[in-house]
């Protein structure tokens, strides 16, 4: 699936990252929209004939002190920003460029999958980013399906606040907004051929979302607040490196199938294993306690998606651990989503289309 914005971003990076790109004006062709609001990225998906158009922004911001000249420079370079409390909030993909320039980390409006309580302007930031991806609806009440995480099982945190804020944002824009669990979005995107029956796991930066669906009915869905960020942070702390650097190593070099070559890889391997075990144990726990899980006569598939699932060997490791743990369900395969970074958005789009019909 080719994508203009992805290409543009890649081109920007090749230029040395000092030329923050701004997404071209999103033309509204109408029709339902799928929106993945993740900890790391916000991805939108729209149907364009037989293809799906994906647009994404980094779900991050970077603040610089507000000044006239800075403002003029940002405008001149088409950098997305807004001004608040004497600061310019550079948002989206450009934030990463600025962060790299200043050799620091971007700030996130979403933390561990939910609106960040730490960031005062999280809501403004996320609304601004969403607006760069989702143009005003052509007709009032057009459908947008946005992803939300499942309730975390290991805390008492609810996704209600997060869900409601996002819904209101989209509704205020003139859309009819419906939420989809991230894990279920994976199922909607990947398991159509299996009657939407199976387990979808979205392994994002802030959390992992799990959903078990039977015939498109989400029997259970939940999240664990461990994700790519957790691995990065824990490994960084263990080896004395920044999380950003660990993330780069993880994304570019990590192969869990191979013997670790250094302490970073060793540590990454350890924390990945911890993450995957946590995930499988959570699945085991939920299945055994659920009153709704049906008795299945056929084995089901597990689909992994999200950036955290992308390093080589994650799937194999997951499958191995899954087999090692006894679960009351039989699994036919563990596979990666076709387009792991966009799976959730695509699944959300599928639901939006289905709802529209």
């Amino acid at each position: 699936m080719s994508d203009k914005n992805e290409d543009a971003k890649a081109a920007a990076n090749q230029k040395g990252g000092n030329n923050p790109e701004r997404p071209k004006e999103i033309e509204n062709f109408g029709g339902p929209i799928g929106l993945d609001i993740g900890t790391t990225n916000i991805v939108s998906a729209r149907a364009r004939g037989a293809n799906i158009q994906i647009t994404k922004q980094l779900n991050a911001f970077f603040t610089v002190p507000a000044s006239k000249i800075t403002g003029m420079t940002l405008l001149k370079n088409d950098v997305l920003y807004f001004s608040q409390n004497g600061s310019f909030y550079i948002i989206g993909n450009a934030a990463d460029t600025f962060a790299n320039t200043f050799n620091t980390d971007t700030r996130r409006p979403v933390e561990s999958g939910l609106l960040s309580a730490k960031e005062d302007e999280a809501l403004n930031v996320i609304q601004s980013i969403i607006k760069t991806l989702v143009p005003p609806p052509k007709n009032q009440g057009e459908l947008v399906c946005y992803s939300i995480p499942g309730d975390p099982i290991d805390t008492k945190i609810s996704v209600l606040h997060h869900d409601t804020i996002l819904k209101r944002t989209l509704q205020d824009m003139g859309y009819t907004a419906i939420a989809i669990n991230e894990g279920f979005a994976v199922i909607m995107s990947e398991l159509a051929d299996e009657s939407y029956t199976g387990i979808g796991i979205s392994m994002g930066g802030g959390m992992c979302n799990v959903c078990f669906s039977y015939l498109s009915v989400p029997v259970f869905s939940y999240s664990i607040q461990k994700g790519g960020d957790y691995v990065d942070t824990m490994v960084g702390a263990a080896v004395g490196e920044s999380a950003t650097r660990i993330k780069l190593i993880k994304e570019k070099e990590l192969n869990l199938l191979k013997e670790p070559k250094n302490k970073v890889e060793t540590s990454l391997s350890i924390y990945y294993e911890d993450l995957l075990e946590s995930l499988i144990l959570s699945i085991q726990r939920v299945i055994t306690t659920s009153e709704s899980v049906p008795r299945l006569s056929k084995p089901i598939s597990v689909v992994l998606s999200g950036g955290t699932a992308m390093p080589a060997g994650v799937r194999e490791k997951f499958e191995k651990l899954l087999k090692a743990n006894r679960l009351p369900l039989q699994f036919s395969s563990v596979r990666m989503a076709e387009d792991p970074l966009n799976t959730t958005a695509k699944g959300a789009l599928q639901l939006a289309i289905a709802e529209e019909k």
């Binding site: 039977y214 015939l215 709704s292 008795r295 299945l296």
Partner: protein
């Protein structure tokens, strides 16, 4: 089936799950999480199945379930409950196999719902399945190997079907090609008996191939028609020739029974078979039968068809058609039949012999009452009539009436057979004969008495024959061919060739009169020996009295039956003339062309000679006349048989003949006939050794011939001359009553 399966669960996930499971199996379903809404929905449209998930249901008393179960018993309840609670549901009447516990097993649920649903909606689902399959085929799902395969199978079946239909069509067409024309029914003329009537109109006999008398359908009483409809074809007035349901039912019953136990033919089909087809059992015949039946139905009214059928059917005892059957079994006409009679007749055509009241009265009784029951069941008669009719006995055998004049009937049958051939037995002719039944009875009595008298006189086994011919018309008025027709059908009046003796002599005298002689002319009664032309044979005729009377008048010679004088006379005029005279008055038998023939050595029949005497009486020669007129079945005259006498003897010679023949009675061998006290004329005849005794004579009305003799040509008895053996019978017959 528009009413969906209702699913209730307060647990949204479980409810959705159950809903999906059901929908995924192809059923419509609706989810409720509120019991009030569920109750409302159930009341509004009764669902076939209610799936009730008790998980998290607030009231553990489950009153709603009991209520559903008792109020909507045609709806099946499927429950999901804790295992501990299931026994209480079962106790409340919920089927055990409809109670499930966790985890939800989609296969189990689907199976149960399908099972219930399919049982409840079997027919609808079948139709739906076929319809969907057809839709799939038309939509064309090239990628689905099953549909492609199914398509091929259906195509193959369709092609096979087309071939079968083609062959069947061809076969039917082939069979239709030589279909008889139903239009022939326009001129429907069933074989009908011909009837013989005496001159006074009394029926004498019936000649038939199929004993039948046609009766038009409008003369057949309604209850008679109803009886046949009830027994043979209950839907006669509804179908169009073929009763498909009955045919199929009969087919199935026959297969079950492994043989033909039930007929599926309608009355129309039976008619088609009887009229146009052979009784062979073949598919070809069945097809033709069906085709003809439909044609008949298209052309004729139901009552007409029923009329044809009733006139055509065979009822046993050689009775064809309802009229003949009515006469045979009840001695009634069809119009006179009552309900019981009608039921009896309706019971017969299926197996006329088996159910014949004459042969198997008990079976006939049972079968007739079955027919009555059918009439009752169809509402043709009420219970009262049924009860009364069912008690009636079946008819007993009526011995067939004997022909009043069997020899005459047999004689006329031969005559008519020569005239009409086989039509005599099929054309329904009405033959009005010349027979006078009174005279016939008199004749039979006279013959019987004569034979009895001879028997009493020690001469048993003597046969006698009599024939009486009307002088004015030549019509036969009485004919007795023997003493016992049952014993011997040989007709001695018409078939027996016997030497005539002296009854031939009047022909010699007539020849003489024609050649100028008179009754007073004389002839020598002397002993003369005649030689044959070659001189090889010599013959000297003697008189009965063994005396010769010298010169005698012809009157004397004949009245005393003098052989020598008669031979002398014949010799004088020539035998060829005598023979010519014989021929002129109707004698056709061979006549010995020599003198002995003059005194009756040639063999002739009684009828032949009696007709000759008829000519003596008034000069006119008649051919035997046995009927006056013949009409067809519609009483339209076919032939009017007017007397056709030919003047064969001039009146002067008639007078001479009357003179000499009267002298026989007044002064000759037949003096006994004077007892009749009226002028009568005649001549006796006796052959050698009293083998034949004749008397043929006439009065002013009838010529009557009597012959007495034995079939074996042995002597009757001593002194049994014509005047002793035959004349008494003649006198007896000629006596005024």
């Amino acid at each position: 089936m528009a009413v969906p399966i209702l699913v209730f669960s307060v647990d949204k996930t479980r409810g959705s799950l159950l809903l999906k499971i059901i929908e995924n199996s192809g059923f419509k379903a609706k989810l409720f999480d509120n019991s009030l809404e569920l109750e409302y929905a159930v009341r509004r449209r009764r669902p076939p199945i209610i799936v009730f998930d008790t998980k998290h249901y607030q009231s553990r008393q489950f009153k709603i379930i009991s209520a559903f179960h008792s109020r909507f018993q045609d709806a099946e309840l499927i429950l999901f409950a804790d295992p501990a609670e299931i026994p209480s549901f079962i106790a409340a009447g919920i089927k055990k196999e409809c109670c499930f516990s966790d985890p939800i097993n989609p296969d189990e649920v689907t199976l149960k719902i399908r099972e219930i649903y399919f049982i409840k909606n079997r027919a609808f689902l079948k139709i739906k399945t076929y319809f969907l399959l057809l839709c799939s085929l038309f939509e064309g799902t090239r990628d689905n190997p099953y549909i492609v395969f199914t398509k091929k199978i259906i195509m193959a079946i369709a092609m096979a079907l087309a071939v079968v239909v083609g062959i069947a069509g061809g076969f039917i067409f082939y069979n239709m090609s030589d279909l008889p024309k139903v239009q022939l029914l326009e001129s429907y003329v069933p074989f009908e008996s011909s009837f013989l009537y005496a001159s006074d109109g009394v029926e004498l006999a019936e000649f038939y191939l199929e004993r039948r008398k046609f009766v038009p359908f409008y003369k057949i009483p309604k209850h008679v028609k109803n009886a046949f409809i009830a027994v043979e074809d209950a839907h006669f007035y509804e179908h169009h020739g073929i009763d498909f349901f009955r045919t199929i039912a009969a087919f199935i019953n026959n297969i079950r029974a492994g043989g033909a136990v039930q007929g599926g033919s309608t009355i129309t089909q039976q008619l088609a078979k009887m009229l146009f087809l052979t009784p062979e059992k073949s598919l070809s015949r069945k097809i033709k039968e069906a085709a003809i039946s439909m044609q008949i139905e298209g052309r004729y009214k139901k009552d007409e068809i029923l009329g044809f059928y009733l006139n055509q059917a065979y009822f046993g005892a050689r009775a064809y058609g309802i009229e003949a059957a009515s006469q045979t079994y009840f001695g009634k006409r069809t119009e006179e039949l009552n309900v019981t009679d009608a039921a009896m007749l309706a019971a017969l055509p299926k197996a006329p012999t088996d159910y014949s009241p004459f042969k198997n009265p008990q079976k006939a009784f049972a079968r007739r009452n079955l027919a009555l029951k059918s009439m009752l069941d169809r509402g043709f008669i009420d219970a009262e009539v049924y009860a009364a009719s069912a008690k009636e006995p079946v008819p007993e055998y009526i011995s067939r009436k004997k022909y009043a004049a069997p020899y005459f009937v047999e004689y006329i049958r031969n005559v008519m057979e020569q005239k009409f051939g086989d039509r005599l037995y099929t054309a329904g002719l009405r033959i009005y004969t010349t027979l006078d039944l009174t005279l016939q009875k008199k004749a039979e009595r006279a013959v019987a008495n004569g034979a009895a008298a001879l028997a009493r006189a020690g001469m048993p086994g003597v046969e006698a024959a009599l024939i009486a011919i009307d002088l004015n018309t030549g019509a036969i008025r009485a004919m007795v061919g023997g003493t016992n027709f049952q014993k011997s059908q040989f007709n001695r009046a018409t078939q027996a060739m016997r030497q005539t003796g002296s009854v031939f002599k009047p022909i010699v005298y007539l020849t003489a009169f024609k050649n100028g002689y008179s009754a007073d002319s004389t002839v020598d009664d002397t002993e003369v020996t005649y030689s044959s032309k070659d001189g090889g044979q010599q013959w000297t005729p003697h008189n009965y009295s063994r005396r010769f009377y010298g010169r005698v008048t012809l009157r004397t010679a004949l009245s005393h039956s003098l052989n020598a004088a008669t031979v002398a006379l014949a010799n004088a005029i020539g035998m060829d003339k005598v023979i010519a005279t014989a021929r002129s008055i109707g004698v056709t038998s061979n006549i010995y062309p020599h003198l002995p023939a003059a005194i009756g050595v040639s063999e002739m029949t009684l009828i032949e000679l009696t007709y000759a005497y008829t000519t003596f009486a008034n000069g006119r020669r008649f051919d035997p006349m046995v009927y006056e007129k013949i009409t067809d079945r519609y009483n339209i005259k076919v032939e009017d048989n007017a007397p056709k006498g030919v003047q064969a003897i001039d009146p002067a010679n008639v007078a001479k003949m009357r003179d000499v023949l009267n002298a026989v009675v007044t002064e000759g061998t037949s003096i006994a006939a004077q007892s009749l006290n009226r002028p009568v004329y005649g001549k006796t005849g006796t052959t050698d050794e009293y083998k034949d005794a004749w008397f043929i004579g006439f009065d002013d009305r009838l010529a009557v011939g009597v012959w007495v003799g034995r079939d074996n040509n042995r002597p009757i008895g001593d002194d049994m001359s014509g005047s002793h053996a035959a004349l008494p019978i003649w006198i007896n017959f000629m006596k005024e009553d």
